[in-house]
Symmetry: none
Subunit: 215 residues, 4 copies
Amino acid sequence: MRRRTTPDAGRRSEASRHAILTAAFELAGEVGYAKLSVEGIAARAGVGKQTIYRWWPSKGAVLLDAFLHLSEGDGGESDGGESDGGESDGGGGMALPDTGDLEADLKLVLRATVDEFADPRYDRPLRALTIEITNDPALAARYAERLDGPMKEAKKARLRAAQEAGQLPAGLDLDVAVDLIWGPLLSRWLRRSGPLTHAYADAVVETALRGLYAR
Amino acid sequence: MRRRTTPDAGRRSEASRHAILTAAFELAGEVGYAKLSVEGIAARAGVGKQTIYRWWPSKGAVLLDAFLHLSEGDGGESDGGESDGGESDGGGGMALPDTGDLEADLKLVLRATVDEFADPRYDRPLRALTIEITNDPALAARYAERLDGPMKEAKKARLRAAQEAGQLPAGLDLDVAVDLIWGPLLSRWLRRSGPLTHAYADAVVETALRGLYAR
Amino acid sequence: MRRRTTPDAGRRSEASRHAILTAAFELAGEVGYAKLSVEGIAARAGVGKQTIYRWWPSKGAVLLDAFLHLSEGDGGESDGGESDGGESDGGGGMALPDTGDLEADLKLVLRATVDEFADPRYDRPLRALTIEITNDPALAARYAERLDGPMKEAKKARLRAAQEAGQLPAGLDLDVAVDLIWGPLLSRWLRRSGPLTHAYADAVVETALRGLYAR
Amino acid sequence: MRRRTTPDAGRRSEASRHAILTAAFELAGEVGYAKLSVEGIAARAGVGKQTIYRWWPSKGAVLLDAFLHLSEGDGGESDGGESDGGESDGGGGMALPDTGDLEADLKLVLRATVDEFADPRYDRPLRALTIEITNDPALAARYAERLDGPMKEAKKARLRAAQEAGQLPAGLDLDVAVDLIWGPLLSRWLRRSGPLTHAYADAVVETALRGLYAR
DNA sequence: TGATAAGCGAGACGGTACGTCACGTCTTGTA
DNA sequence: TACAAGACGTGACGTACCGTCTCGCTTATCA
């Protein structure tokens, strides 16, 4: 079901690739997931549909590459980098701020993410990508590897620094910790289950750090 | 010349309604969101497409009602409760277990949710519904009102009981607390960003209760 | 496939019947055959669809009765009936003009028919009826009996009068004669194969009377 | 964002075109006008509906091309003549028989047409086409140009030959003459207003030639 | 003179077909 | 050989009507 002969990447048109990724991201921002079509992307990019199908297995894969494209100078098929300081950018050599004040640093980052979610230009493409990932485990794996993974490493690195500074216990499971801080935001954003404000971001950070039991 | 008003619910066929909701839920479980079609639902339910379009504004609305239908004896357009002790069932007068041991109770509930997510029969319809909600604010609002809201109330009720028993501080923001406990699960489930196990559920509960700072 | 118990015509609503026939004729004139629907007729007449299906076997039957309705004071289910001096009106005891001058009389009648065909208010319903008849032999039979038959009798009566006056040969087949005079008009009208003018009507009459051979 | 211009006929699939025209004609013959659907034609032709809608503006246009297709080796969009010696075939370079005996020649042709009308395989498609033409002036124009026109020329050519041989008067309006001969047949066929026999054909020819007045 | 059954308006129902959109594949011609 | 262009078979969309089927609600006999 996939193309059988790997296309000659050497002949690949960089101009078309760039146009496609840009068009995909912009269209996702303008029309939303439901009306995002390969035909629309091809038309906006001034490209034949086949050029998309030749290089990407699905609409979601294009979208994922569009995010990768943004979060580096590019990076589509290169290596390395990824992701964001919020939910979509940052990555690679990217690191979370480290002023020594973990709580302040986390609030800064989460507030930035909240702002991102509030901008339809990012909110909609991000929702589109999230939906594709939700539906497609293969895409989710690639997302984890290329976008979320590096970002998660940056998050864990910041927590590990706090750990080493004695601000967090040595036995803390950093994967759980990261989920505890970023999971609430994500779930409220996706389901629109409540207002997504700086105050909420602050409250999540404070509560996650100190726990429900005590204050 | 066309009718604009709400159709006469008095003449509505209960048999068709039931068949549609059942078909929608089952099909979502069998074929997944991407291949879930109104035509497919109508065919499986033995119903004309128009009967779906007459009563529901979108595929997502059908799916939401299908969940409501499950979580009560029915209740599509009736009143009252709904929702679940995990993520999709439970509801109405439904309450979280209260043995006095908050941590154990929460672990029990989260483990049940984890199990639910592991069953494709629930995982897939739930993903489908989540995607629809992600795309459609109106549906999200109805979801919040009819399914998530009552569930959230049950969750907050359990936390409030703990608060009143002095196990949680009086000033705790219960909305944030609920997100802190259930958000991590949700985000890991949707993005498949890590294994979803009982151990993970336990770790989330423990960490959320005690906070990152201390162990 | 038709209703099994003859409805009680005694209880039949004359108001509804009238409204339906009027609506059918007017709608046919306004929207044309292609967009003429039973639902549309019912809506325009302020009548339930069932009331149409109860009394008529098809849309075409309604249309035929609408013409019958026009061509008498009414006459839908009564007897007698008949048609027109042109193509759609006239009828019952109706007779073609007889001034003694056959040629002039025929020209008068054919010119009137031409005028009728030029008025969309008659042209379109007439086309609609003709189409229904073309498709439905049973309807064609009823048309022949109720509308065209009486008209044809009137035409033949006029020709017979001429015959008796020695203007036409005794052996003339009047059915063929009628077709020869009215057929050309009909065919040019339906296929729009040429201009339909008074001059054309005159030429047809003259040529039919004298034949092609001689002038 | 949609294409408005004529699609690129250069890329058109001849196989699909042929299959569509054949299917349309056959289906019209089998199920009749009322049940002739674009979906049915597409299914029978093994073709997507869009391929029909891409190249034809209406069901009637397909049907017309199907007749054109038959009456030549093909000729859908090519040039040249077509049409029929009776009512649907013949055309182009086609000519009516000319033995020098006009009356006999015309009887021969009209009898052939009568036979054609008696065969459901031609009767039904012909009715379907006639209905479409009745409803659609644009289609009627194209019909006049491509099918009826060439046929009419052939008919007029035969009459002109008789004229030149002194069998018909020089001043005879050939358009009227053609209508006088073929109109009666057409109108009797469409409305089923009487038996359509060889005897009738003969009588029409004889009466048209000699006129009603004298014998 | 009141029950009773029909016709009636309304319109929901299971269907078929409409004409459109997008899918992913394939073909053609250009550079 | 990659590309733009776009036709193709496929299948779903959401809408319009089909003809059938209840629902109350008149209304007009007939017990």
